[in-house]
């Protein structure tokens, strides 16, 4: 018998969908700022594997000569990004959702199983609670990255008044690199995230909008999850 099972609380869905455009605009305005001193590259010595960014990228995106506008957007949206993130973390702590999100002692092994399964190298699907081990690690890491962006951002925004922070992060130049690397990290996260949501399918995607997921529930059981195993065998 199929049932609608509640998956994502309304608050989490709001935080998620507010964060998506805000982070996108933070990255976009950040690129406007970065353009004014676009010195980073992957490479060594005189060998450059990839320059951030090639002229073709700027030609396609028109993100040149917008430093002032970029800073104005960035220093407004930073408040939305910060407050939304703070509310999200606060909500997961108060609601107990953090129990599904923080990695536990099984997560690392699970994450390997998930990766092997997703690459087609392992047949058995991994067990999940709300999230599997790979998700727990990824979702916790991206929150820590958010904190990292706030701290590295503050340290390059106010490097004298927050000099202790800037020095702790290795100095002004290093903090700017860290801020940039974290941004690249979001882009990589986004690519994997969208690919995995695509793989998981409509039922899973809909749960981040509508909150519920359809599951097969054995007759007589309150929920499919409760039916399969006794609670607290792993929590």
């Amino acid at each position: 018998m199929k049932k609608l099972v509640e998956k994502h609380p309304l608050a989490i869905r709001w935080f998620h969908w507010v964060n998506f455009p805000v982070l996108a605009l933070m990255i976009w305005s950040g690129l406007w700022i970065y353009w004014a001193n676009d010195i980073y590259r992957l490479g060594w010595g005189t060998t450059t594997l990839y320059k951030f960014f090639p002229q073709s990228f700027y030609d396609a995106t028109h993100l040149d000569h917008k430093l002032a506008q970029g800073m104005a957007w960035h220093f407004l949206l930073m408040w939305v990004f910060f407050l939304n993130g703070l509310l999200y973390v606060g909500y997961t702590l108060v609601s107990g959702e953090w129990r599904y999100l923080l990695p536990n002692r099984h997560s690392f092994r699970e994450a390997i199983e998930v990766t092997l399964h997703d690459l087609g190298l392992r047949k058995a699907a991994p067990l999940v609670q709300k999230y599997n081990g790979a998700q727990r690690i990824a979702y916790t890491a991206v929150i820590l990255m958010g904190l990292g962006s706030l701290l590295t951002g503050l340290s390059i925004y106010k490097p004298t008044q927050f000099g202790w922070l800037t020095q702790g992060l290795g100095g002004y130049e290093a903090a700017r690199v860290e801020h940039f690397v974290l941004t690249i990290g979001y882009v990589l996260f986004f690519i994997v995230h969208v690919a995995q949501v695509g793989r998981a399918g409509w039922n899973n995607f809909r749960s981040m909008v509508a909150g519920f997921e359809i599951e097969e529930v054995p007759a007589g059981a309150a929920s499919p999850r409760l039916a399969q195993r006794e609670p607290d065998t792993q929590a």
Binding site: K2, K3, L4, W17, P21, I33, A36, N37, I39, A68, Q69, M71, A72, F75, L76, V89, L93, V94, G96, E97, W98, R99, A125, P126, L127, V128, Q129, K130, N132, K158, P159, T160, Q161, G163, T166, G171, Y172, R176, R199, A200, G201, N203, N204, R206, V209, A210, G211, F212, E213, I214, E215, E216, R225, L226, R229, E230, P231, D232, Q234, A235
Partner: protein
């Protein structure tokens, strides 16, 4: 925020296999199918409306009339950020200083606004308008050099995102105001920057002799011990490109505030005009 553990949700979810990829078609016309359809429709319409409201709201902000080169709501946020950092500001917090040997030999120049007119360095005078009116006073480079010489090696941070470590020398702006009490209405000198006279001007305006480049500073940053009326780089008198004979240096602000070739200084009540702020940049531009 309390970090103590919260009780587990009532229905803790035990490990199970994800339903992703199962055949989850609901019986057509069943009550559960109707509920799923209703909730899905309602939620997606809600998300769509929220997205539309976001797009329209953002466009509304962007289309507000400009205030100094940036839409007014963005300018208000920049100014609010500036007030917040002013409230956090302490004159005891210093920008890091480096060994003189870490300074660059060739100091990059960036921008020559205000430097394109002829200048006779011998005839040059720094004109200072006292706070609250009164006759303008003129100072020679010798007057500035008569103040205690301060040498510091600090990081110059350009608003474009690059930085260089530079060895500077000059007189503290605060020492200038200790000797020449031009910044307070009652004519009191600044004896101790932690306890300046109560009637100190809130803002300082600096303008090049040709009035082509101009910056505004808040008084707290101006009397910070690392804010210099600078006349030397690497022990050598300033070159013309670096702002001879006298320029401002302050590691509390981006390079755009380091006005070269000081012409006129004024102490004022209102936030002074600022060359780059007029083109959409943050007026405070502070660190």
């Amino acid at each position: 925020m309390a970090l103590e553990p919260t009780p587990a949700p009532e229905k803790a979810i035990p490990p199970h296999v994800s339903p992703d990829g199962e055949n989850l078609t609901l019986p057509p016309g069943s009550a559960i199918e109707q509920e799923a359809t209703r909730r899905t429709r309602r939620s997606f319409i809600g998300l769509g409306l929220a997205g539309l409201a976001g797009v329209l709201g953002w466009r509304y902000l962007l289309n507000q009339p400009d205030a100094e080169g940036t839409p007014a709501p963005f300018r208000r946020v920049l100014d609010a950020n500036g007030r917040l950092s002013a409230a956090y500001f302490r004159e005891t917090r210093l920008a890091p200083e480096f060994a003189k040997s870490q300074g660059v030999r060739q100091v990059r120049t960036n921008g020559d606004a205000g430097l394109n007119s002829e200048i006779d360095l011998d005839a040059w005078r720094m004109v200072v308008q006292p706070y609250g009116g009164g006759k303008a006073q003129e100072f020679t480079l010798a007057d500035i050099k008569a103040l205690p010489r301060i040498e510091m090696t600090t990081q110059l941070k350009c608003i474009e995102g690059w930085s260089i470590i530079v060895n500077w020398a000059g007189a503290r702006f605060a020492d200038f105001l200790a000797k020449y009490p031009l910044a307070s209405r009652s004519g009191q000198p600044i004896k101790d920057i932690a306890h300046p006279p109560a009637d100190l001007a809130p803002y300082v305006s600096l303008v090049t002799p040709d009035e082509e480049y101009y910056v505004g500073l808040d008084m707290h940053s101006t009397i910070h011990p690392q804010t210099l009326l600078c006349y030397e780089i690497n022990g050598q008198p300033l070159s013309l490109e670096h702002g001879a004979p006298l320029r401002l240096v302050t590691p509390l602000k981006y390079g755009i505030k380091h006005l070269k070739r000081i012409g006129t200084i004024a102490f004022v009540d209102q936030r002074p005009a600022d060359y780059w702020a007029e083109q959409g940049y943050d007026w405070d531009a502070g660190h």
